[in-house]
Protein backbone atom coordinates (compact mmCIF):
# COMPACT_ATOMS: atom_id res chain seq x y z
CA UNK A 1 0.00 0.00 0.00
CA UNK A 2 2.68 2.46 0.98
CA UNK A 3 4.39 1.82 -2.33
CA UNK A 4 1.82 3.89 -4.08
CA UNK A 5 2.23 6.83 -1.78
CA UNK A 6 5.83 7.78 -2.13
CA UNK A 7 4.98 11.17 -3.54
CA UNK A 8 3.03 12.12 -0.46
CA UNK A 9 4.59 14.27 2.23
CA UNK A 10 6.54 12.54 4.98
CA UNK A 11 4.11 13.22 7.76
CA UNK A 12 1.14 12.13 5.78
CA UNK A 13 2.85 8.95 4.83
CA UNK A 14 3.59 8.14 8.44
CA UNK A 15 0.02 8.99 9.28
CA UNK A 16 -1.34 6.72 6.65
CA UNK A 17 0.94 3.97 7.78
CA UNK A 18 -0.08 4.43 11.37
CA UNK A 19 -3.71 4.51 10.47
CA UNK A 20 -3.36 1.25 8.71
CA UNK A 21 -1.48 -0.23 11.61
CA UNK A 22 -3.20 1.12 14.66
CA UNK A 23 -6.63 2.04 13.56
CA UNK A 24 -8.06 5.52 13.33
CA UNK A 25 -8.24 6.55 16.96
CA UNK A 26 -4.70 5.73 17.87
CA UNK A 27 -3.49 7.32 14.68
CA UNK A 28 -5.03 10.65 15.60
CA UNK A 29 -3.20 10.62 18.88
CA UNK A 30 -0.01 9.57 17.17
CA UNK A 31 -0.23 12.24 14.54
CA UNK A 32 -0.83 14.88 17.17
CA UNK A 33 2.22 13.80 19.09
CA UNK A 34 4.41 13.77 16.02
CA UNK A 35 3.36 17.28 15.27
CA UNK A 36 4.85 19.04 12.33
CA UNK A 37 8.49 19.25 11.37
CA UNK A 38 10.84 17.21 9.30
CA UNK A 39 11.87 14.57 11.78
CA UNK A 40 12.91 12.27 9.02
CA UNK A 41 15.77 14.41 7.88
CA UNK A 42 16.82 15.78 11.23
CA UNK A 43 16.52 14.71 14.79
CA UNK A 44 15.20 16.87 17.56
CA UNK A 45 18.45 18.42 18.69
CA UNK A 46 21.96 18.69 17.36
CA UNK A 47 24.59 17.93 19.95
CA UNK A 48 26.83 20.92 20.68
CA UNK A 49 30.31 20.17 19.32
CA UNK A 50 32.06 20.38 22.66
CA UNK A 51 29.57 18.14 24.41
CA UNK A 52 30.39 14.43 24.70
CA UNK A 53 27.89 11.81 23.57
CA UNK A 54 25.40 11.15 26.33
CA UNK A 55 24.62 7.81 27.91
CA UNK A 56 21.03 9.02 28.33
CA UNK A 57 20.61 8.45 24.62
CA UNK A 58 20.37 5.13 22.81
CA UNK A 59 20.45 5.64 19.09
CA UNK A 60 18.84 2.96 17.00
CA UNK A 61 16.86 1.92 13.97
CA UNK A 62 13.42 0.44 13.68
CA UNK A 63 13.13 -1.19 10.29
CA UNK A 64 9.77 -2.10 8.81
CA UNK A 65 10.46 -4.93 6.41
CA UNK A 66 6.91 -4.77 5.06
CA UNK A 67 7.85 -1.55 3.33
CA UNK A 68 11.03 -2.86 1.84
CA UNK A 69 10.50 -3.07 -1.92
CA UNK A 70 11.78 -6.09 -3.83
CA UNK A 71 14.12 -4.44 -6.24
CA UNK A 72 15.14 -1.47 -4.11
CA UNK A 73 18.63 -1.03 -2.71
CA UNK A 74 18.62 2.71 -2.18
CA UNK A 75 19.80 2.38 1.42
CA UNK A 76 22.81 0.38 0.27
CA UNK A 77 23.65 2.87 -2.46
CA UNK A 78 23.27 5.77 -0.06
CA UNK A 79 25.68 4.15 2.39
CA UNK A 80 28.19 3.39 -0.33
CA UNK A 81 27.98 6.98 -1.56
CA UNK A 82 28.24 8.42 1.91
CA UNK A 83 31.50 6.62 2.64
CA UNK A 84 32.82 6.07 -0.87
CA UNK A 85 32.62 2.34 -0.34
CA UNK A 86 33.94 1.57 -3.76
CA UNK A 87 34.83 -1.99 -4.54
CA UNK A 88 37.54 -3.56 -6.59
CA UNK A 89 35.30 -5.95 -8.46
CA UNK A 90 36.09 -8.65 -5.92
CA UNK A 91 32.84 -9.39 -4.11
CA UNK A 92 34.47 -11.75 -1.63
CA UNK A 93 36.79 -9.12 -0.23
CA UNK A 94 34.95 -5.88 -0.99
CA UNK A 95 33.45 -4.14 2.02
CA UNK A 96 29.72 -4.06 2.65
CA UNK A 97 28.47 -2.04 5.60
CA UNK A 98 24.83 -2.57 4.78
CA UNK A 99 23.30 -5.21 2.55
CA UNK A 100 19.84 -6.35 1.64
CA UNK A 101 19.01 -9.88 2.66
CA UNK A 102 16.18 -11.88 1.19
CA UNK A 103 14.50 -14.45 3.40
CA UNK A 104 12.33 -17.23 2.05
CA UNK A 105 10.32 -19.30 4.45
CA UNK A 106 11.19 -22.92 3.80
CA UNK A 107 7.65 -24.11 4.50
CA UNK A 108 5.40 -21.39 3.15
CA UNK A 109 7.68 -19.88 0.54
CA UNK A 110 6.86 -16.41 1.86
CA UNK A 111 9.68 -14.01 1.11
CA UNK A 112 10.81 -11.01 3.08
CA UNK A 113 13.51 -8.51 2.30
CA UNK A 114 15.41 -6.48 4.82
CA UNK A 115 18.47 -4.30 5.12
CA UNK A 116 21.10 -5.73 7.44
CA UNK A 117 23.91 -3.76 9.01
CA UNK A 118 25.76 -3.56 12.32
CA UNK A 119 23.07 -4.08 14.93
CA UNK A 120 24.76 -1.78 17.45
CA UNK A 121 24.26 -4.23 20.32
CA UNK A 122 24.12 -3.03 23.89
CA UNK A 123 26.34 -6.01 24.70
CA UNK A 124 28.39 -6.32 21.53
CA UNK A 125 30.42 -9.54 21.15
CA UNK A 126 32.90 -7.66 18.92
CA UNK A 127 33.70 -5.32 21.80
CA UNK A 128 34.09 -8.23 24.19
CA UNK A 129 36.56 -10.11 22.03
CA UNK A 130 38.66 -7.21 20.73
CA UNK A 131 42.11 -7.64 22.29
CA UNK A 132 43.11 -3.99 22.13
CA UNK A 133 39.76 -2.40 22.88
CA UNK A 134 39.61 -0.96 19.37
CA UNK A 135 36.03 -2.17 19.05
CA UNK A 136 34.07 -0.03 21.44
CA UNK A 137 30.64 1.29 22.19
CA UNK A 138 30.01 4.98 22.52
CA UNK A 139 27.95 6.12 25.50
CA UNK A 140 25.01 6.66 23.17
CA UNK A 141 25.06 3.06 22.00
CA UNK A 142 26.90 3.40 18.69
CA UNK A 143 29.40 0.59 18.15
CA UNK A 144 32.55 1.70 16.35
CA UNK A 145 36.04 0.55 15.46
CA UNK A 146 38.89 2.73 16.64
CA UNK A 147 41.14 2.35 13.63
CA UNK A 148 44.04 3.85 15.53
CA UNK A 149 44.26 0.80 17.74
CA UNK A 150 42.82 -1.89 15.47
CA UNK A 151 45.56 -4.40 14.69
CA UNK A 152 43.52 -6.25 12.08
CA UNK A 153 43.23 -9.57 13.93
CA UNK A 154 39.62 -10.03 12.71
CA UNK A 155 38.51 -11.76 15.89
CA UNK A 156 35.52 -9.38 15.96
CA UNK A 157 34.47 -10.69 12.57
CA UNK A 158 34.55 -14.22 13.92
CA UNK A 159 32.51 -13.14 16.94
CA UNK A 160 29.85 -11.02 15.23
CA UNK A 161 26.60 -12.99 14.88
CA UNK A 162 25.48 -10.75 12.00
CA UNK A 163 28.53 -10.79 9.75
CA UNK A 164 28.26 -7.04 9.94
CA UNK A 165 31.93 -6.29 9.65
CA UNK A 166 34.31 -6.07 6.73
CA UNK A 167 38.06 -6.20 6.66
CA UNK A 168 39.78 -3.70 4.42
CA UNK A 169 41.63 -5.99 2.04
CA UNK A 170 43.39 -3.41 -0.10
CA UNK A 171 44.75 0.11 -0.18
CA UNK A 172 42.09 2.81 -0.16
CA UNK A 173 42.66 6.35 -1.31
CA UNK A 174 39.24 7.90 -1.71
CA UNK A 175 38.12 8.30 1.88
CA UNK A 176 35.65 10.97 2.83
CA UNK A 177 36.77 13.54 5.37
CA UNK A 178 34.43 12.13 7.98
CA UNK A 179 34.89 8.46 7.06
CA UNK A 180 38.45 7.26 7.55
CA UNK A 181 39.11 3.78 6.19
CA UNK A 182 42.39 1.99 5.69
CA UNK A 183 43.98 -1.27 4.62
CA UNK A 184 44.44 -3.85 7.34
CA UNK A 185 41.73 -2.68 9.69
CA UNK A 186 38.17 -3.79 10.31
CA UNK A 187 35.19 -1.56 9.67
CA UNK A 188 31.41 -1.58 9.81
CA UNK A 189 28.35 0.64 9.85
CA UNK A 190 29.03 3.68 12.05
CA UNK A 191 25.34 4.57 12.30
CA UNK A 192 26.56 7.64 10.40
CA UNK A 193 27.90 8.99 13.67
CA UNK A 194 29.28 12.06 11.87
CA UNK A 195 25.75 12.99 10.79
CA UNK A 196 24.08 12.02 14.04
CA UNK A 197 26.40 14.28 16.04
CA UNK A 198 25.37 17.14 13.78
CA UNK A 199 21.70 16.40 14.34
CA UNK A 200 21.12 14.66 11.03
CA UNK A 201 19.89 11.15 10.45
CA UNK A 202 21.93 8.33 8.91
CA UNK A 203 22.27 8.24 5.14
CA UNK A 204 20.38 4.97 4.67
CA UNK A 205 17.38 6.17 6.66
CA UNK A 206 17.35 9.40 4.74
CA UNK A 207 17.55 7.66 1.38
CA UNK A 208 14.80 5.10 1.94
CA UNK A 209 11.91 6.09 -0.35
CA UNK A 210 9.47 4.09 1.79
CA UNK A 211 10.77 5.47 5.07
CA UNK A 212 11.19 1.88 6.16
CA UNK A 213 14.21 2.76 8.26
CA UNK A 214 13.23 4.85 11.25
CA UNK A 215 16.07 6.40 13.21
CA UNK A 216 15.84 7.80 16.69
CA UNK A 217 16.60 7.73 20.38
CA UNK A 218 15.15 4.55 21.84
CA UNK A 219 15.58 5.85 25.37
CA UNK A 220 13.37 8.85 24.82
CA UNK A 221 9.79 7.74 25.43
CA UNK A 222 8.54 10.65 23.33
CA UNK A 223 10.62 9.82 20.29
CA UNK A 224 8.91 8.40 17.30
CA UNK A 225 10.98 5.23 17.38
CA UNK A 226 10.20 4.56 21.04
CA UNK A 227 6.51 5.15 20.50
CA UNK A 228 6.35 2.86 17.55
CA UNK A 229 8.28 0.18 19.40
CA UNK A 230 5.89 0.57 22.32
CA UNK A 231 2.84 0.21 20.17
CA UNK A 232 3.77 -2.61 17.82
CA UNK A 233 5.77 -5.76 18.07
CA UNK A 234 9.37 -5.65 16.91
CA UNK A 235 11.99 -8.37 16.82
CA UNK A 236 15.71 -8.62 17.22
CA UNK A 237 17.71 -10.88 14.94
CA UNK A 238 19.11 -13.73 17.00
CA UNK A 239 17.26 -12.44 20.02
CA UNK A 240 18.25 -15.70 21.72
CA UNK A 241 21.70 -14.20 22.28
CA UNK A 242 20.18 -11.41 24.38
CA UNK A 243 22.50 -8.76 23.02
CA UNK A 244 19.87 -5.99 23.28
CA UNK A 245 20.17 -4.72 19.75
CA UNK A 246 20.04 -1.14 18.60
CA UNK A 247 18.38 -2.26 15.38
CA UNK A 248 14.87 -3.70 15.60
CA UNK A 249 12.78 -5.16 12.82
CA UNK A 250 9.10 -5.35 12.11
CA UNK A 251 7.58 -7.89 9.81
CA UNK A 252 9.99 -10.80 10.24
Amino acid sequence: MSNTQDHIQDDNQIDSYRRKLLGGGAALAGAAALGSGVFFTSIARAKPDAEPASSEIRWGFLIDTNKCADNCDKCVTACNDEFNLTGFGRPETDAQWIRTVTLRDKKTGHTTKLPLMCQHCAHPPCVDVCPTGASFKRPDGIVLVDKHTCIGCRYCMIACPYKARSFVHETIENQKEYGPRGKGTVESCTLCVHRVDKGEIPACAEACPEKAILFGNMNDANSDIARRMASTVSTEIRGDLRLDLGVRYQGI
Binding site: N80, L85, G87, H148, N174, K183
Partner: protein
Protein backbone atom coordinates in the same frame (compact mmCIF):
# COMPACT_ATOMS: atom_id res chain seq x y z
CA UNK B 1 113.04 6.05 9.15
CA UNK B 2 112.44 9.75 9.45
CA UNK B 3 111.04 9.92 5.95
CA UNK B 4 108.54 7.21 6.86
CA UNK B 5 107.30 9.24 9.83
CA UNK B 6 106.86 12.30 7.66
CA UNK B 7 104.83 10.34 5.17
CA UNK B 8 102.59 9.19 7.97
CA UNK B 9 102.11 12.74 9.17
CA UNK B 10 101.22 13.81 5.68
CA UNK B 11 98.55 11.17 5.36
CA UNK B 12 97.14 12.05 8.75
CA UNK B 13 96.87 15.70 7.78
CA UNK B 14 95.30 14.76 4.48
CA UNK B 15 92.80 12.55 6.24
CA UNK B 16 91.71 15.30 8.61
CA UNK B 17 91.39 17.71 5.71
CA UNK B 18 89.21 15.31 3.76
CA UNK B 19 87.10 14.63 6.82
CA UNK B 20 86.30 18.27 7.23
CA UNK B 21 85.64 18.88 3.60
CA UNK B 22 82.69 16.52 3.84
CA UNK B 23 80.89 19.61 5.01
CA UNK B 24 80.47 21.65 1.86
CA UNK B 25 80.19 25.40 2.05
CA UNK B 26 76.57 25.76 1.06
CA UNK B 27 73.19 26.71 2.42
CA UNK B 28 71.57 24.23 4.76
CA UNK B 29 68.60 22.47 3.16
CA UNK B 30 65.44 23.31 5.10
CA UNK B 31 61.86 22.14 4.58
CA UNK B 32 59.63 24.50 2.64
CA UNK B 33 56.75 24.75 5.08
CA UNK B 34 53.52 25.99 3.42
CA UNK B 35 52.04 29.07 5.08
CA UNK B 36 48.47 28.95 6.29
CA UNK B 37 46.18 30.16 3.52
CA UNK B 38 44.27 32.29 5.97
CA UNK B 39 47.50 34.08 6.81
CA UNK B 40 46.64 33.73 10.46
CA UNK B 41 48.47 32.49 13.50
CA UNK B 42 48.12 28.71 14.00
CA UNK B 43 45.70 27.41 16.62
CA UNK B 44 48.56 27.45 19.10
CA UNK B 45 51.89 29.27 19.20
CA UNK B 46 54.22 28.04 16.41
CA UNK B 47 57.03 26.81 18.65
CA UNK B 48 54.53 24.85 20.68
CA UNK B 49 52.93 23.35 17.58
CA UNK B 50 56.26 22.24 16.17
CA UNK B 51 57.02 20.41 19.36
CA UNK B 52 53.62 19.13 20.41
CA UNK B 53 51.25 18.92 17.45
CA UNK B 54 51.19 15.13 17.74
CA UNK B 55 49.97 15.27 21.32
CA UNK B 56 47.17 17.63 20.37
CA UNK B 57 46.15 15.44 17.45
CA UNK B 58 46.13 12.30 19.56
CA UNK B 59 44.09 13.97 22.25
CA UNK B 60 41.62 15.35 19.76
CA UNK B 61 41.29 12.05 17.96
CA UNK B 62 40.42 10.15 21.14
CA UNK B 63 37.98 12.81 22.26
CA UNK B 64 36.24 12.85 18.91
CA UNK B 65 36.10 9.15 18.26
CA UNK B 66 35.53 7.79 21.73
CA UNK B 67 33.46 10.55 23.30
CA UNK B 68 31.91 12.25 20.31
CA UNK B 69 33.38 15.66 21.10
CA UNK B 70 33.50 17.35 17.74
CA UNK B 71 35.34 20.59 18.28
CA UNK B 72 37.66 21.30 15.36
CA UNK B 73 40.45 23.32 16.93
CA UNK B 74 43.10 20.60 17.11
CA UNK B 75 41.81 18.37 14.33
CA UNK B 76 43.89 16.80 11.61
CA UNK B 77 41.53 18.27 9.06
CA UNK B 78 42.48 21.73 10.24
CA UNK B 79 46.16 21.10 9.54
CA UNK B 80 45.83 20.37 5.86
CA UNK B 81 42.90 22.71 5.32
CA UNK B 82 44.73 25.82 6.58
CA UNK B 83 48.04 24.78 5.06
CA UNK B 84 46.62 23.49 1.80
CA UNK B 85 49.09 23.19 -1.07
CA UNK B 86 47.72 23.41 -4.57
CA UNK B 87 49.21 21.63 -7.53
CA UNK B 88 49.46 22.66 -11.16
CA UNK B 89 45.77 21.87 -11.70
CA UNK B 90 44.87 24.24 -8.84
CA UNK B 91 43.62 21.23 -6.86
CA UNK B 92 44.95 20.48 -3.36
CA UNK B 93 47.80 17.99 -3.52
CA UNK B 94 47.41 14.77 -1.58
CA UNK B 95 49.97 13.33 0.77
CA UNK B 96 51.39 11.38 -2.16
CA UNK B 97 52.95 14.66 -3.28
CA UNK B 98 56.08 15.57 -1.36
CA UNK B 99 54.95 19.21 -1.22
CA UNK B 100 52.03 18.27 1.06
CA UNK B 101 52.13 20.28 4.28
CA UNK B 102 52.63 17.28 6.54
CA UNK B 103 55.23 15.70 4.34
CA UNK B 104 57.55 18.68 4.12
CA UNK B 105 58.76 18.27 7.70
CA UNK B 106 58.01 14.59 8.14
CA UNK B 107 60.15 13.65 5.17
CA UNK B 108 62.88 15.94 6.44
CA UNK B 109 62.86 14.30 9.86
CA UNK B 110 62.24 10.80 8.41
CA UNK B 111 59.16 10.34 10.57
CA UNK B 112 56.28 8.40 9.06
CA UNK B 113 52.80 9.87 9.17
CA UNK B 114 50.37 7.02 9.72
CA UNK B 115 47.29 9.26 9.65
CA UNK B 116 46.77 9.15 5.90
CA UNK B 117 46.67 5.40 5.63
CA UNK B 118 43.06 5.85 6.74
CA UNK B 119 42.31 9.57 6.65
CA UNK B 120 42.04 11.66 3.55
CA UNK B 121 44.84 14.19 3.17
CA UNK B 122 42.98 16.91 1.28
CA UNK B 123 40.06 19.14 2.24
CA UNK B 124 36.77 17.54 1.31
CA UNK B 125 38.27 14.14 0.58
CA UNK B 126 39.77 12.75 -2.60
CA UNK B 127 37.90 11.92 -5.78
CA UNK B 128 36.03 8.67 -6.09
CA UNK B 129 37.90 5.84 -7.70
CA UNK B 130 37.02 2.20 -8.12
CA UNK B 131 33.74 0.53 -8.80
CA UNK B 132 30.65 0.20 -6.70
CA UNK B 133 30.19 -3.20 -5.13
Amino acid sequence: MKAKRNTQRFWLAAFIFVLFSFGVMADVPVPDIPEAVKGEQCVEETGFMRRNHMELLLHQRDDTLRKGIRTQKHSLKNCFTCHVVKGADNQPVTVKDSRHFCRECHDYAAVQVDCFQCHTSVPGGAKTTGTRP
